[in-house]
């Protein structure tokens, strides 16, 4: 069928079509404009930080006239891809909350994060807790990690700084439902690994479905980094623990040491909450909040999320993952590290204002208010007022930081592992041991050794 169309209409249609094609092409480029100097944008991957950050932003606006728009993108993987795609389309915000000493540096190596070297004076950095004061800075260890061409840090230079610390804390904090503990006759926090297993046995016997332990094992490395590693450190001591990741077959995961710590970890198998292997970290925490498990493994940051999901801090007991009674370090402490940092993006149109906002967040009063609003530990030293501000539950977690240097498990240390080491595949192998029951401790040790050896072999 033909439709009669006049010449003028044809001509107009052709012009419109050509214009459309040009429009579609021009849309492929594009970048964000300079924006409004009085408005900043910040992204975070922690939903539990949003309200506290917005409160701080309101205070910042009153003091400086600069507004800060805070947006959250969760979970972590979604945040990662969001940041990468925004960097490609020049739509990055001014400030990012990043994972300290990892994500911040890979963003720096990629040119997405601005170098803050020389821009964080002592008056600013001295506000932070001593242990995390230089977080975000390229140290000798990070420089070594960056040497292989296929390292995600490749290209960074010593002394560069890609974030300032924002929150601190540690992994391997266990939360227990006080009511379930009482129902099972458990009256205090377990002091040793054996007591912990005993308490788990009691709650599990009381309620075989809801009396177990939850952990977001869908995120591959949580079992490895939050439970096995601090447990192995306490059982073997620092030097033998680090040797597990080495090339010496008589001391690495394939050795009797490896089999022993894997067997100890395997003792959790009967007590996992059904289906915990299919849950993300947030989903596992939600399950605990809903009373589907008696124990939940997380970090200091987990309390904020639990609170957001309706759990009262007084209803939970929090303690560091206990050490084995007869281990090499029976009083092992869990070393605090900077968990998240504030990163200035290299494309920020208002870097001076963005830095003002970052510095404002590190102020003692602002950090104390943030801690109270978010139930998370700020990197800023809160001084004598700290414990009062943080409350007894967060305070008890801080107790787990106290230990002699040799007795403190420091999760940020990585120089004993092969360059390019990726913890996720190792976590997948470990999952076959527990909770999946597809392997034995000895066979899992062999598989982990094989995988870690492949990283050693490829480290150039």
């Amino acid at each position: 069928m033909r439709i009669a169309v006049s010449g003028k209409v044809r001509c107009a249609a052709a012009v419109v079509a050509a214009a459309l094609s040009l429009t579609s092409l021009s849309a492929c480029g594009g970048s964000s404009g300079p924006g409004d100097a009085a408005t900043l944008e910040m992204w975070t991957f922690k939903q539990s930080h949003v309200a506290a950050l917005r409160n701080a932003a309101e205070e910042f606006r009153k003091q400086t006239g600069i507004s800060v728009r805070v947006e959250a993108y969760t979970p972590d993987d979604a945040y990662t891809t969001k940041v990468q795609s925004a960097a490609k389309t020049h739509d990055l915000p001014d400030v990012l909350e990043t994972h300290s000493d990892g994500e911040d540096m890979s963003l720096g190596a990629a040119g997405i994060a601005a170098d803050l070297r020389g821009l964080v004076p002592a008056a600013w950095s001295d506000r932070f807790e001593q242990a995390v004061r230089t977080s975000g800075t390229v140290t000798d260890q990070k420089l070594r990690e960056s040497q292989p061409k296929d390292s995600k840090l490749h290209g960074v230079r010593k002394g560069q700084r890609f974030s300032v610390p924002f929150t601190t804390g540690t992994f391997g904090i266990v939360y227990a439902n006080k009511r379930m503990l009482a129902d099972a006759g458990v009256t205090r926090a377990p002091a040793t690994w054996e007591e912990f297993l005993h308490a788990l046995g009691r709650t599990h016997a009381e309620d075989p479905v809801r009396g177990g332990i939850s952990l977001g094992l869908k995120v591959k490395a949580t079992g490895l980094t939050w439970v096995l590693q601090p447990l192995a450190f306490a059982q073997l001591g620092k030097e033998r623990y680090e040797a597990l990741f080495g090339r010496d077959a008589s001391r690495n995961f394939a050795s009797p040491d490896g089999t022993r710590v894997l067997s100890m970890y395997d003792r959790l198998t009967p007590y996992w909450m059904p289906g915990t292997q299919s849950l993300t970290i947030d989903e596992a925490d939600q399950a605990f909040a809903q009373g589907k498990s008696a124990f939940d493994v997380g970090g200091t940051f987990t309390l904020a999320f639990l609170r957001q999901n309706g759990v009262k801090a007084d209803d939970v007991l929090a303690f560091g993952l206990p050490a084995p009674e007869r281990g090499a370090v029976p009083h092992r402490a869990l070393g605090p590290l900077a968990l998240t940092g504030l990163t200035l993006t290299s494309t920020s149109a208002h870097p001076d204002n963005a830095r003002k906002w970052m510095e404002f967040l590190s102020g003692q009063k602002v950090a104390a208010r943030f801690a109270k609003d978010s139930a998370d530990l700020p990197a800023t030293a809160l001084g004598a007022e700290g414990v009062k501000v943080l409350g007894p539950t967060l305070g008890s977690m801080i107790d787990s930081f106290d230990g002699a240097p040799g007795d403190t498990y420091d999760p940020s240390l990585n120089d004993f592992r092969p360059p390019g080491y990726d913890q996720d595949p190792v976590g997948e192998v470990l999952a076959d041991l527990t909770p999946l029951r597809k392997s034995t401790p000895a066979a899992t040790g062999q598989d982990m050794r094989k995988l870690i050896d492949s990283y050693w072999a490829e480290s150039k």
Binding site: C28, T80, K149, K152, E458
Partner: protein, 341 residues
Amino acid sequence: MAGSRSAAPGAAAGRVPSGCQGPLGRPAPGGGPASAAGRAARAGRRREALTGYAFTAPAVLLFCVMGLYTVGYGLTLSFAQWNGFTPHWTWVGLDNYADVLWRDPRYAPRVHHAALNTLWVMIGVPLLTVAAAFPLAVLLNRAGRMQAVLRSVYFLPYVTSGVAVFFAWTYILQPDGAVNALLGQLGLGSLRQPQGWLGNPDTALPTMIVVSAWGAVPVAMLLYLTGLQGIDRSLLEAAQLDGAGWWRSTASVVWPLVRPITSIVVLLNLRDSLQGFQTFLVMTDGGPGDHTNVLGLEAYRLAFLKELAPTLGLASALGWLLFAAALILALVNLRALRSTT
């Protein structure tokens, strides 16, 4: 199609314009007014062709930029090491292909394992889809007045938002989800999965195959339905006159006649199973452990979830290997289609 033929300038040039025809359809004698009319008609066709080109220009330009450019870019990237942001690529030749196929112990074993899982998906999804879609289409074809309603109902999985549906599936398949509850209600408690259908490494992949097939059945069913409605009824009547019952007619007359559609359904599902990963990303992220890791998911992980490590080239190489496999499958299918039609 008539429209496209009339708009083609080449086709118009070889024919006598209809305005020049005599009363019996022959060319009119003489040249004066007729040739003027012919020129006018040719000019009209040229304008029409130009209009057609202008309307297709946006699509062609978009294809050149978004299609050809990205394809070329992706192919080039597969010979380089890059994280997506650093200013320079490091050329590595065919190393990326060798690394994912056999050489690098960090990547090759994972790719092999993912390839095995993908193979199971490629076998299971097309088989299940055909096994469910064809009988459904046959039943629907006999449904009479309810056909439109039922067709919409069966098509629902396809039009419902993918991510939301797959999240719903994960809840349904959890230890305390609807599937286990239903089995309990039906007295089939021994079939329940205490760790959830996605939490048990022995059931996770088969469950994912079933969910993937569930999403593929609507389109396959519609294709079969179209094919069934195109079958000459006299063929079925002849079979019935020869004494063939419903089962025999369906198996010996209908099924062979819709074989080309089966080939298309199988091909589409093979391709989706080979390259698709969204369902796996949302529902299992390759877990538990790595028991549901598939090649598409591994490529996605290498591209975007390596914390800016320079593995984009590896992801691209894996993507091109998947493309090559899809191409071979398409050629094999085409060949099979030709030999049976």
